[in-house]
């Protein structure tokens, strides 16, 4: 009798395991470090998608998904690798949303994701080098490569009539990749880059760096850095010494904390970060407001999309194992199929379960190209009267 009971219990466990499971998704972002002011809204975005799917109960026969947060630190590859390793071995996550900064993302991909066959979708790693990195079909990003951002910067500068710029970048994979992309695109369109030099984060004083930039000259200073770090220091130093008045701010620099810290000196500057005017963005921003966070910040929509893509692909492959659903991601992200906007994940899961096809548009107009990276839509912003306002989308 005892044995029969035990056997039934065991079978019951296995049976439920096969039908409804507890899926875990790791969210590895830099909750401390140079972009710590952006990551809370990013993680909240990913968790919003997870909550939506859980509420629908439609994923893989009523499986539930739980998020597992981890700190990538944005700059310390060893710490990020250790977190990813722990999530896979101890927390047993099924996929990872992350990492955030390009350097740690590359390290996590090569040292942890590939050896363990784990799907990783980064919402914010934008280094062009990641396009060609070996990834065994495991790595995707809902953020565009900076090669595209370089072209956008060149377009913006040309349209505003600037002919010569100085470029400074944070000394890592992200900064170097973006700065080179900007220089290449701007020079190809006939502009002049007077200097393209790096700065280190975490210093107290950037007057020497600003001195070199000022000596090289230029109408605009392009600061491919981080808003809570050296990027802020460079801008403050340039304004203090009167070296530059106008700054071009790429995605790592756009944020309310920069405007608050620098003050009126930043008025007249402009920049861009991945963003879209597709209906999805507005829907997402309302959903975020209802959930109590700001969904318009950089990379928050991309984070929602990254988590949503993972879960839709699981549904399409009928499995929560990375090896099974990694091939389904491109299919759910791109045409053909019914367009899916934020808030419609339940509908999408149902269509897929019924054998239909979806084209996930999401909050950031997801269109995966190449080896699985976003084609890239950008929101061009102006700093006016101490606030960031949208100029247009491109």
């Amino acid at each position: 009798m005892k044995k029969i009971l035990l056997a039934t219990a065991a079978t019951a466990l296995i049976a439920t395991g096969a039908y409804a499971e507890d899926i875990k998704i790791g969210i590895i972002l830099g909750f401390t470090g140079p972009i710590e002011s952006l990551t809370p809204a990013m993680a909240a975005g990913a968790e919003l998608a997870i909550k939506e799917v859980n509420d629908s109960g439609a994923l893989l026969n009523g499986s539930s998904v739980s998020p597992v947060r981890g700190d990538s630190t944005c700059i310390d590859s060893a710490a990020a690798t250790a977190v990813a390793e722990r999530q896979i071995t101890a927390d047993k996550v099924n996929a990872i949303v992350g990492g955030d900064c390009s350097g740690v993302t590359g390290a996590m991909l090569q040292n942890v994701a590939r050896p363990n066959g784990m799907v990783m979708i980064s919402p914010s790693a934008t280094s062009p080098a990641l396009s060609t990195a070996e990834d065994d079909g495991l790595f995707f990003r809902t953020a565009p490569s900076d090669a595209r951002q370089g072209q956008v910067v060149a377009e913006i500068l040309n349209e505003r009539g600037f002919k010569s710029v100085a470029v400074t970048y944070t000394n890592n994979d992200y900064g170097k990749g973006l700065a080179d992309a900007i220089q290449a695109a701007f020079e190809a369109s006939g502009g002049t880059v007077t200097i393209n030099t790096s700065h280190e984060d975490g210093k107290a004083d950037y007057s020497a760096e600003v001195g070199a930039l000022a000596s090289a000259g230029g109408e605009v200073l392009v600061v491919a850095g981080y808003l809570d770090q050296g990027g802020k220091g460079i801008i403050q130093g340039a304004l203090d010494s009167g070296a530059f008045d106008i700054f071009e701010l790429p995605d790592g620099m756009v944020g309310d904390s920069l405007v608050a810290n620098i003050g009126e000196g930043l008025n007249g500057s402009f920049g861009q970060h991945p963003g879209t005017d597709s209906p999805g963005a507005a829907v997402y921003s309302d959903m975020a407001k209802a959930a109590g966070f700001d969904g318009t910040g950089p990379f928050s929509p991309e984070s929602y999309d990254a988590a949503a893509l993972i879960m839709l692909a699981m549904q399409a492959a009928g499995s929560s194992a990375s090896a099974d659903f990694k091939g389904a991601i491109m299919g759910v992200a791109n045409a053909p199929g019914e367009k899916i906007y934020p808030g419609e994940l339940a509908k999408a899961l149902k269509i897929i379960a019924d054998g239909g096809d979806v084209d996930y548009v999401g909050a950031s107009s997801v269109e995966l190209i190449g080896s699985g990276e976003s084609a890239g839509n950008y929101r061009e912003i102006d700093v006016k009267d101490g606030a960031i306002v949208t100029n247009k989308f491109r």
Partner: protein, 336 residues
């Protein structure tokens, strides 16, 4: 006109930042040199003592600001300096009682004192981060500029701007006042003379009835004054982040050694030598050269000796060169 532009550009990016940074380094290395001269060891905890003093000043400044106290256009932090000095002096005298006194009575070798100061450094470092956190803190208030770059341009009609920050002005003036007071104290007062006697020849000083513990106590109090002022000025002028004070240790030691360890005058000279070499070696002279030279000779390159990434390497190199060729330093201090 071109020549004036060149001078203004040079002052804006080299001369003024150099003088301000040099004063901050000089105040820091004065403390190092005093401890080396009188207590006879290299105090590695110096940078973090600066962070500790500045931290107390910042906390007091925030309290004063919340009470509505202000000495506009000067920063409130100046009012908070005494609190920082008292707290620093208490901590330093406490550390001396707990750590250094024991080794001093054992007549331990200097290297043992140096290593124990390394331990003190890590503890101070931890305490500061524990209390105020590892992040950047803002505490500067009052006016920001004496001369604004844009206003200077419109007033003079030159194409180059000149900016002088209030914090830079305060730094230089305070440094001059502090150094003058220190020299008056060392050269004119009875206590100062007894300190110099103790530094020159310990046994002779003991024989002539100088109380060593009193000399040691006064040294720590003076060092507390110097570190708190230097730390606060650096934080006001640049930014306060506990880790950057640890990084200041190398240029400060370089300044003390270049000037001649144990020689206060040398510490000041060394501070300016290090500050100006760091800035001139990494400054791109293109703009200045374009103004001064005729058009045909105008440079295409940046005319920069070293990229700014290598700034820290400059103090290293000077340190090594001085130790190789003139170990006593410019002003003939003691040999390490």
């Amino acid at each position: 006109m071109d020549f004036l532009n060149a001078i203004v550009a040079f002052s804006n990016f080299v001369l003024i930042p150099g003088v301000a940074f040099g004063s901050q380094l000089a105040l820091g290395s004065l403390g190092i040199t005093l401890i080396f001269g009188i207590l006879r060891f290299s105090n590695f905890a110096h940078g973090d003592s600066m962070a500790f003093g500045a931290m107390v000043v910042i906390l007091t400044t925030w309290w004063l600001q919340s009470m509505g106290v202000s000495i506009h256009p000067l920063p409130t932090a100046l009012l908070a300096l005494p609190a920082g000095i008292i707290a620093s002096a208490a901590v330093m005298l406490g550390t001396d009682r707990l750590v250094y006194k024991f080794y001093r009575q054992q007549k331990a070798a200097p290297i043992i004192l140096v290593m124990s100061s390394l331990g003190v450094m890590f503890i101070m470092n931890g305490i500061v981060r524990f209390i105020i956190g590892p992040n950047e803190q803002r505490f500067a208030d009052g006016a920001r500029f004496i001369v604004k770059a844009r206003e200077f341009k419109t007033a003079t009609g030159l194409s180059e701007g000149l900016s002088i920050k209030v914090s830079q002005g305060i730094t230089v003036i305070t440094a001059i006042v502090v150094v003058a007071l220190l020299f008056w104290f060392l050269n004119r007062t009875r206590t100062g003379k007894s300190m110099r006697a103790f530094s020159d020849n310990e046994d002779l000083a003991l024989l002539s009835g100088i109380n060593p513990e009193r000399v040691v106590m006064i040294v720590w109090v003076i060092v507390a004054i110097l570190t708190t002022i230097a730390g606060t000025l650096y934080g006001l002028d640049k930014s306060f982040k506990p880790f950057t004070y640890f990084q200041l240790l190398l240029p400060m030691f370089a300044a003390a050694i270049v000037g001649g360890l144990g020689n206060p005058l040398g510490a000041i000279a060394g501070g300016f030598v290090i500050a100006f070499s760091e800035i001139t070696v990494t400054y791109a002279f293109k703009k200045v050269a374009t103004y001064v030279l005729p058009d045909s000779m105008a440079p295409d390159t940046l005319v920069q000796l070293l990229s700014t990434d290598y700034k820290i390497a400059v103090s290293f190199s000077i340190l090594i060169l001085v130790l190789l060729f003139r170990p006593t330093g410019i002003f003939r201090g003691q040999v390490v």
